[in-house]
Symmetry: D2
């Protein structure tokens, strides 16, 4: 399926290690840099020198996001720092580079835009595959937070996008009672067809009497108006990326517990998340016809 290739993984969290190990299992040569042996516990030994790691690589894989501070590479398992300076940039210049959140690199300066960056994190198929570990992570949090079972619980999923679809299915499969809110007539038809109680996101009922409300919509759905509808004891797990969908000051004031839960695949299921990055990169290599070039 895939041809034996030389990969170099630089930086990232546990996902990078699991991805590297999975690439090796598939028969590829893999070198890693930007990890400290003792922090990863992995069998694969990080290279001590970046040039050794890059040498002879067909593809370089950078983490998602590439950088958090705009100055150094995102490498939380590394004892040292990797500066995103000209020296580093030049090393990458002629390489095929896969990365996530490429915009964070572009923001550093014009010259970085000349790199051959292929962004796996901006692809929708990547997002779909990640909806599974996200939904599972959300359920794990719900299990930890609730004093009852999912099986006997009553849940509201706000939004019927990728995560809403997978999450509502898994909650129902675990025996929970599931309402799903959306905005479009099409979504209502699907929600009804799949056996959930359909609600309108823009017109939520007066009494939100749920064990957990999962918000997946990246807008301020839970403003004062909707928070006041929440019955006592309701918990909100906010899966929307920052700044999230909940007015947390008002929630605090009303004593509604809000759990902000982002980046769940990397935090809760780094092995699966690493596999997803790998599979997405394989698809991109195939689409671009790079397997052959790389030989």
């Amino acid at each position: 399926m895939t041809e034996k290739t030389n990969f170099c993984v630089i930086g990232g969290d546990a996902r990078g290690i699991f991805m590297a190990e999975s690439l090796i299992k598939d028969g590829h040569n893999v070198k890693i840099y930007g990890y400290s042996q003792k922090k990863t516990g992995a069998k694969i030994t990080p290279k001590k020198d970046i040039d050794l790691a890059l040498d002879n690589s067909d593809f370089i894989i950078l983490p998602v996001p590439v950088t958090r501070d705009g100055k150094t590479l995102n490498a939380p398992l590394f004892d040292s720092k990797i500066d995103l300076d000209d020296e580093f940039r030049k090393k990458l210049e002629t390489k095929n580079i896969f990365c996530g959140g490429s915009g964070t690199l572009h923001n550093i300066g014009e010259k970085w835009k000349n790199l051959c960056l292929m962004d796996y994190s901006s692809r929708e198929d990547f997002a779909i595959l990640n909806a599974v570990p996200t939904a599972e992570g959300a359920i794990q949090i719900a299990m930890q937070e609730c004093e009852g079972t999912i099986d006997s619980g009553n849940f509201l999923v706000v939004g019927f996008g990728r995560i809403g679809k997978i999450l509502s299915k898994k909650l129902k499969n675990l025996g929970g009672k599931v309402s799903v809110s959306a905005r479009s007539a099409l979504d209502f038809a699907w929600i009804q067809t799949l056996g959930y109680e359909p609600l309108e996101t823009n017109n939520l009922p007066e009494f939100l009497d749920y064990d957990v409300i999962f918000n997946t919509v990246p807008h301020r759905i839970f403003d004062r108006y909707n928070l006041l509808k929440c019955c006592e004891g309701v918990k909100i797990i906010d899966l929307a990326s920052s700044p999230g969908g909940v007015d947390s000051d008002t929630a605090d004031f009303l004593d509604i517990k809000v759990i902000s839960a982002t980046g769940l695949p990397g935090k809760f299921s780094p092995k699966t998340a690493g596999e997803i990055i790998k599979k997405t990169i394989y698809k991109m290599i195939k689409e671009e016809g790079l397997w052959k070039k790389s030989k």
Copy 2:
């Protein structure tokens, strides 16, 4: 369905509080004793005096187990102690008492056998209902322990009793690949019929290459012989009651992680577990025709 009745809940953990609150919701009068307000955070105020609590009660509900030390009532949320002495016993003498693990009370002395103890924990329907929070708890532990998702995982459930049946169903419903081992031809037929891979508990395969093995059988299944079959990285969640089904010394030696997980309903889902005790007591009252007597 149920007639307004006076209940008195004495001792127990969070399950007792949730049960008391649920009894009140159903319209009953409930008094509790053996809890300290600040430890429970419940709205219901514990009585300061046991006689006040018992006064006029139709039914008394004691926890499961009634006692852990054979001397005092099992009341972990109480600042003080309730001695299981003659004085206490006499207070209970003419009462209808529901309790769990009545044997622990019988062991104290002959006189305790004269009490009208109705044991909810020894009923099989109670055990069936508890298999759901047990299975969910096991899945929550698996989610915490695994670096991949349940959806992408490969699991072995050893034993196809109550917990094995519910657990394997939930794992499969979450997308996992599930093998189930059992001993009888009937169980093999059911396992196959329900879509799991059937294995023989007495003759497990040479290579147990699973993300998690859930043991539900209260015998030493995982002795040295079977532990040696476990592939690297396998985790065992042992749901069998003490002493469990795993030779933990050998497991330690082989660096196999074993998580002993008992009493999950009370620990992970006290609200659901409290509801289950309540429902079981309702059924017992109905079966014994006690609703009428109690009026």
Copy 3:
């Protein structure tokens, strides 16, 4: 939810009768015309005169399609005929009319375009809701055609649109092994995520060894090239609307059984299909703000 309203149902098959009965259950006044009592077996008595039926109606409901021959109303349960002539058209002129396949009426002549026709069958939410009875009908046909169970069967669903999504879910829920073919990377990601084997519609494998292939794509997918890939005994259920997705001459020549299956909701589940028309019309009335006007 809905306000008491006067409906008039003219023509159509059993769906019209079930819809009329359902409207009555919801508290509306309903008159029907274009049915013969003995053919319908319904409790509701058809009006003998169209003017009696139309009199005082707020909404008129015509069938889907309105006409099959371009000359008379589609009314298979009527002993007589209803000509789509000027006289009939004038009766409808000031009315709010719901119908399916309005194009068949527009084709008759310019004047028909002036009617206030609201087409329920062209709405996507209508199509989504109808995917359920379509998928069930397809499974019923598969059960009739196959000498094995769905539970033990191996199925290919070609296309991952509305019907493909529901059908593959139901087949899997019945225990079948399901492959789904699609064209886009997004669909592959969803297919994989939902636990089916993903295939490329444009590049089907060399050996199509399935019990049943369900085609949902309205293009000639099964031309000579793909039909030659079908293993012995494969049956194709073609759910694509006419002319369908199978080269039936070649299939005949190769002795591959093809079952052309269209219009399944009306044929197999007229009661559910009638409910779906009713619900869609309710939504349209609400969207258009016609409940108020009609009072």
Copy 4:
């Protein structure tokens, strides 16, 4: 798994043919007798002479039941008859014979009891495996009989034995609303745990407002008393073996449609049913240690 063996299949319906073909696929030698080529349409050619068929056989497989009239072998696909006379009996005398419903053979006379008959149909694992095609057949009948979908239907399954368990699961998986009635507290606990509405078979509600009632209990559950509870339009599919669980005279009088549905695996899914017989015989051979003897 299984060792190459000589099988002889004598008599039976389509299940015998599918079983013979499946045995051949597994690598065994198979001869068949008691079929007419043109009636079976099978590729395997029946022997013209029973002695040729029996010659050198390790195992003989007779149908279920072996005989319907007590005089001739059950061989509906045979143009001729096979008398169960002394001559035939002697041919079987030293053979290992698998059959179904061995009692029908024992009833012929004492001498038949000396044969080495191994009855696959009396095994409970056989019955469990057959519950799947039975449940699917019941659903197929319900689909044919109902004018709505299973997805939108409301069903009562009477009895929670093998068939009740599988049938209620499949109905729910197809989206239907399912109530299950049983008699024991344990069954109620399981029914509740699995997410169905639990009812008491001995105390069914006053209004049985279901689309279909599936009876699996071989007692006269639907006597006048319970039939009078059935709301208009209810259909009863009676899966209990003769004489079934419905007072059909009263049902006729009350205009309640009753579909008597027995022997569904053989009628609706002969291929799967043949596989189940084969698998059961394999298990019996293994349990009896006959693979080795047969060499």
